[in-house]
């Protein structure tokens, strides 16, 4: 296979290609940032940047879970309503349940995780299609939220609790810190652990993974449980930020969350993608919303612009070849 010189040069080329491949989702984002920094001098200020990060953190946290689900060749449509339910339960526990903040939050997280686990069990053990199971869960959790809250918002939390969503460390909002920590953990899990490797293997070729001795059911169950857990985390942050648990929070979030993941270059066919890409995808959505507001685009036109910009962003990315 050629001499040593050839080898190293080809290795180098391969490396560059892989690097570009990793950051190709960044091209669209970069273009948006550059254009925006010319159009508005408020855009590239620290407060605005922190603002963007804070705005994407709630969906971004769910997107980290969704990345794992999609990598394992699944899909989770229930994230928005699990978020709403976990948030409502946490709120209910605090306001009516008269238990400590800590226990209330724990209960909320447990609810999200348990229902995510249930998703995973139905999908891997009962072998039902992911789409249907999580769609059904979306409906069930939404209904449970309405039943639990009686259709009315639950409001009025302790100041201590409100810090989770509203506080800052230095100038950095706490939700941004939580998001960052979860991103890093997500990155580590996917890249450094056996479980992460198994996620890629199951998503890349489930049959082969099983024959190689991997407990594919367990991998699937776990990713859904994680997704449920992270939805609950988002739910807690959200109610803290709004100082109110809305029974109808998170409607249609699933599409935006999936969009973040896919914009970040993760393939819906499974087995291919990164958490770093998801961060970029989340920022594309965040910068987009922020820009449309900064530029004062009228709300009807915002929808049109949003669609067009997303198209252009992925178009820029796809200057790289696929397949």
């Amino acid at each position: 296979m050629g001499n040593a010189n050839d080898e190293s040069s080809s290795k180098y080329k391969e490396f560059i290609l892989q690097f570009l491949d990793k950051f190709k989702a960044g091209v669209g984002l970069m273009a948006m940032v550059i254009v925006m920094s010319f159009l508005s001098d408020r855009f590239l200020t620290l407060p605005n940047i922190l603002n963007i990060f804070r705005q994407v953190s709630i969906m971004g946290i769910m997107a980290v879970g969704m990345t794992m689900v999609i990598l394992a060749q699944g899909i989770d449509l229930s994230v928005g309503s699990l978020m709403a339910l976990s948030g409502a339960v946490t709120a209910g526990m605090m306001v009516h349940g008269d238990i400590s903040i800590f226990l209330a939050v724990l209960t909320g997280l447990a609810v999200g995780t348990a229902l995510g686990l249930f998703n995973g069990l139905m999908i891997s053990k009962a072998k039902l299609p992911d789409f249907i199971v999580t769609l059904a869960m979306m409906s069930i959790a939404r209904g449970l939220t309405l039943v639990y809250t009686g259709g009315r918002p639950i409001s009025g939390f302790d100041l201590a609790f409100r810090r989770i969503g509203g506080g800052r460390v230095g100038r950095v909002p706490i939700p941004v810190i939580i998001f960052t920590v979860i991103l890093i953990i997500g990155y580590l899990v996917l890249n450094k652990t056996t479980f992460g490797r198994y996620i890629y293997a199951v998503g890349g070729n489930k049959k082969a993974a099983r024959l190689a001795g991997i407990n594919t059911d367990r991998v699937k169950i776990l990713v859904y449980a994680i997704s449920g857990f992270l939805s609950a985390v988002s739910g807690v942050i959200l109610i803290s930020r709004l100082n109110s648990a809305q029974p109808t929070a998170g409607v249609a979030y699933e599409l935006d969350v999936i969009a973040m993941v896919v914009l970040g270059g993760t393939s819906l066919v499974g087995g291919k993608g990164t958490v770093g890409g998801t961060l970029i995808g989340a920022l594309i959505i965040g910068v987009l919303n922020n820009s449309l507001n900064l530029l004062g685009v009228a709300s009807f036109y915002q929808e049109v612009a949003k669609g067009l910009v997303i198209l252009v962003a992925v178009l820029l990315d796809s200057i790289q070849h696929r397949d």
């Binding site: 009686g150 259709g151 009315r152 918002p153 409001s155 029974p247 507001n293 004062g296 009228a298 709300s299």
Partner: protein, 270 residues
């Protein structure tokens, strides 16, 4: 009696109160009440009204998603000789009875209060409810009628924000970019008003712009206490629900009822 109640959306606490009022009264009067929710989708509402008709309800009460789009469903009920009552929002056709706040009056109350506070001078924004609902149209009508008379007051923009909090926020964000020196905002309901307040707060203009809403939902009352919401026109959704069931029973008992039953309103401030 079997009575059906088709609600536009239970995602708004206002209607949850309305449904509660109806359910309580139904229990008291021994009426078998079925409530269906359309999730603010006109097509879904049409389907569920059809289901109520097929089910053989003695009377159907409707809180329409849209006054025009509900007409075909009402016509079907008519064909089966099932009487129809509309609640809170009207339909663009004749029905047996209509129960609602006097929304024109409510719009006027809001206008008069704002004009008073601004001493008849200022630049105003109007956030409209779901287009095609009588509630939105009539509140706008009453509001504009009063304001048109006052020289110093100018309504610089009216935009629909669909009675929803998130729409209220994003529309207000846009309007803040587009206009300067806004003195007051009138929103056709509290949800939109609360959304607008978020946008105003983010822009740091809380002290400059006063916001008035409509409904007096719980969150709005809290906001009034906090001083972020200036005032609201209290509707009595529970009362509407109660009246709906009572009237249904009267009608089915063969009694005469009025075609329009107004439900009293009240101005609430700090």
């Amino acid at each position: 009696y079997d009575v059906g109640l088709a609600i536009s959306t239970l995602e708004n606490p206002f209607f949850v109160d309305l449904a509660d009022g109806a359910e309580e009264t139904a229990e008291e009067l021994g009426v078998n009440l079925t409530v269906v929710d359309a999730g603010d989708d006109a097509a879904t509402q049409m389907n569920s009204v059809e289901d109520l008709v097929i089910q053989g309800m003695d009377l159907v009460a409707i809180n329409p998603v849209d006054g025009d789009a509900i007409v075909p469903a009402i016509e079907e009920a008519d064909m089966m000789n099932i009487p129809v009552i509309t609640v809170d929002r009207g339909a663009e056709t004749d029905v047996t009875a209509h129960i609602a706040s006097d929304n024109v009056e409510g719009g006027m109350m809001a206008a008069e209060y704002i004009a008073d506070q601004l001493e008849n001078e200022g630049r105003l924004i109007e956030l409209e409810g779901v287009p095609g609902t009588s509630a939105a149209r009539e509140r706008g009508e009453g509001f504009n009628e009063v304001m048109d008379e006052i020289e110093g007051i100018e309504i610089i923009d009216s935009q629909p924000a669909d009675f929803s909090r998130s729409e209220g926020m994003s529309v207000m964000e846009d309007l803040l970019e587009a206009h300067e020196d806004i003195d007051a905002v009138f929103a056709h309901n509290d949800e939109m008003a609360l959304g607008a307040i978020e946008a105003i707060d983010a822009a740091g203009l809380t002290d400059e712009i006063m916001v008035v809403g409509f409904d007096a939902i719980d969150d709005a009352l809290t906001a009034i206490e906090d001083g972020t919401l200036e005032a609201t026109i209290a509707q009595q959704p529970e009362e509407m629900g109660r009246l709906t069931v009572e009237m249904a029973v009267q009608l089915l008992d063969g009694e005469e009822v009025d075609e329009f039953v107004p439900v009293p309103l009240e101005l609430i401030t700090q």
